[in-house]
Amino acid sequence: MGSGSSTPHHFVLQKAESAFKAAVLIQRWYRRYIARLEMRRRCTWSIFQSIEYAGQQDQVKLHDFFSYLVDHFTPSSHNERDFLSCMFTEKRLLKDPEMEKYCDYESIEVPDYYTGPHVSFPLLPDHATALVEAFKQKKQLHARYVVNILHEARNHLIQLPNINRISTCYSEEITVCGDLHGQLDDLIFIFYKNGLPSPERSYVFNGDFVDRGKGSIEILMILFAFMLVYPKEFHLNRGNHEDHIVNLRYGFTKEVMHKYKVHGKKILKMLQEVFCWLPLATLIDGKVLIIHGGISDKTNLELLEKLERHKIISTMKYTKKPEKEKLVEESRSSSPWFPLKSRSVPSSPLRLSPQKGSRSASIPCSFIPNRKEISKRVRKSVQLELEKCRQQVGVSEFKVQEELPLLPPESELDSCDLEGVNYEEWKQVADILWSDPMPQEGCKANTARGEGCYFGPNVTEQMLQRHNLQFLIRSHECKPEGYEFCHNRKVLTIFSASNYYEVGSNRGAYVKLGRDLIPHIVQYQANRATHTLTMRQRISRVEESALRALREKLFAHSSSLLGAFKSYDLDGTNFITLSDWSAAVESVLHLGLPWRVLRPQLVTHTTNNMLEYKSWLNDLAKEQLSHENIQSSLLEVLYRNRSNLETIFRIIDSDHSGLISFDEFRQIWKLFSSHMNIDISDESICDLARSIDFNKDGNIDINEFLEAFRLVEQSYLEDKDSELKTSETSDSSCSSQGIH
């Protein structure tokens, strides 16, 4: 091969040959340009994915955090004790008279000035269509109708089996849609392009209807309405986001509370009872299996059909199996005292740790059971309470005893008793809802998500053979084209939320199946603006968004980064090489991103290929900081833990008032920081709390606190993106796009 730059600097030969050479030159140059765009696009995608998964891992960590607290924390005061009990008992502990109240919609009055859609039962196709029209016009459905629809939906869902079996004999074609994630525009577009549901047009919606987008409740209302109108033709599968714990973090809870200030709580509680009744899978002609996430090598359809799906309220880990080492440790130190708030369950006499003197002791204890037993007992009490409520509603089959007999210590089995479902069954469902396919053979734990597995082509093949299936349809993962085949075209991923990460980031798609069961994919992108942009512009927009998110993350780790940089600058010159920068950044953030490829966009000022890292960090900070009176390190810490804090706040704010007291705020912070090994003084926290309390009434408005961060983001957005004017009004309390 000769030297690459074979282009001579003058065109000597005949015109034809010069034209040829000129064309080659231009084409060569253009292809390189496109290749660089493609590289940027891939990197952008990696950024979004890695941040998204890091966020999901956070969620798991958060729950491990709660379990950890329950297992280890010794409350040192009255307040902390109550705080803990409040956290753990959660809102699932419905008191008897309240549960009836929640199903009651008749008492909710619809005022005369209400201009939204009205709904009456039995539901007719026209009602459902009217709902779609009304939501298109941005109307909001009244709480009474919401509760009514949820009530009817639950009644319907209860009758359904765990695995819906449908056939192409009855309707000509079946359309399967993937994740919608609150993006109402996409649903409306699907109905527009593919047609509304009807006896001739079956639909299957494969989970993840809610969270992240702003129209989650509207989507649910439409889906449930059509399900009630066309019960034989309209089917829903449960996704991992049909889960109130996940909703706390990813925006659905927030959306409901914002849109339904008076009845939101009721709606949320009802939703818990609806989500758990959603079927787990759909089977078409006994040949095509549709599940939200995927499978594992243990997935067993017979088991799945038999288990009691409604007992699995959440597939997020509640409690871990206690480890042997911790048990040993515990017996030496003082064990946690774990009270229960509910009155109707007899209190467990579990007060331990004799050093902490004056607690308002409920019942003196006569023995000291081990910690595992305590956890089990607590869980049983929670379970008991729940059962009683269910009994009230007429759902439970078990007669609940008034008194909780002292249980003998249980032997250490592998199976954890989670709300009356054994671990194996719970895992079957978790695998279905959380797993992802991988190219390699085998089956291993899904570390990115913290739940479910990665399953390989051999696992798919075994599953298909075992149950005589042709292929699987699943969702759960965003794909640039809205769909993707893998495992030799035996697994189809279908994702229906277009522009998921950012405007222009990806298409949405749905798949149609006729009698031949051959998949026909339809793609779309529910945003006209992107069609008119060039590829360069589309990629730039999405890329800028990704880079912004990445810079935010970098800022949030400023202290650790400084430490890492210093370790490469042993001579104290204040400079490091760009290569060292890449290594340092990866060692701190652990995002697995191609830093050397991204570097030109993150590091703009270098001297002789060396970076003055302190000023680089300062530049980062300048972009992110807004309030001068908040110390930058504290802000950095808060920023990093923003989503976690928000989730915790929402759990603490048990009456969903949007306010928490100073004390509660400080308690949260203390607990959180002690677990996460964050070193912030009490004083700084108090200062921070005071400065946030704008109206000086001793309460902190959660939304205003979080708003402080949004303002930083907003002003940045306003400065940089004047061309990206959206017509949406920024609503701070509503969940919006952005990395959660």
Binding site: M1, A19, Q27
Partner: protein, 162 residues
Amino acid sequence: MADDKDSGEMGLQEIQKKIKDAFEVFDHESNDTVDVREIGTIIRSLGCCPSEGELHDLIAEVEEEEPTGYIRLEKFLPMMVKVLLERRYRPIPEDLLLQAFEVLDAAKEGFLTKEELMKYMTEEGEPFTQEEMEEMLSAALDPETNTIQYRDYLAMMVIDEN
């Protein structure tokens, strides 16, 4: 991509890491292989500007004896290091590109019509695919005159690159 000082050990290591990073972006199975169809993108994103013909030659160098459709990192890396150290397939200077457009602009009017550009790009040289043509036109075509004002187009693209 900035020119690295490529003298000495440090330079070599940095080059290798850069190549590995770019390679990994397309290594979907995390097993140090990429689809052969993505090699062109990787090579170009590392700063090189080969023609299609030159690209095919490069690929032939690193393919397996029995082509599998995949290229392995261990074969790709040494080849790519050599390419970068020898500064092969350098990007085309702006003035040369301008000359190329001028050659195609037979009437010397300072612009090309849509049909002219399409004819050259899809019939001459190493022809564009339909998709490549459409994408180029979406940015290059001035919709009011239906022509490609190539001086302006180039100026815009050059800014964009940086």
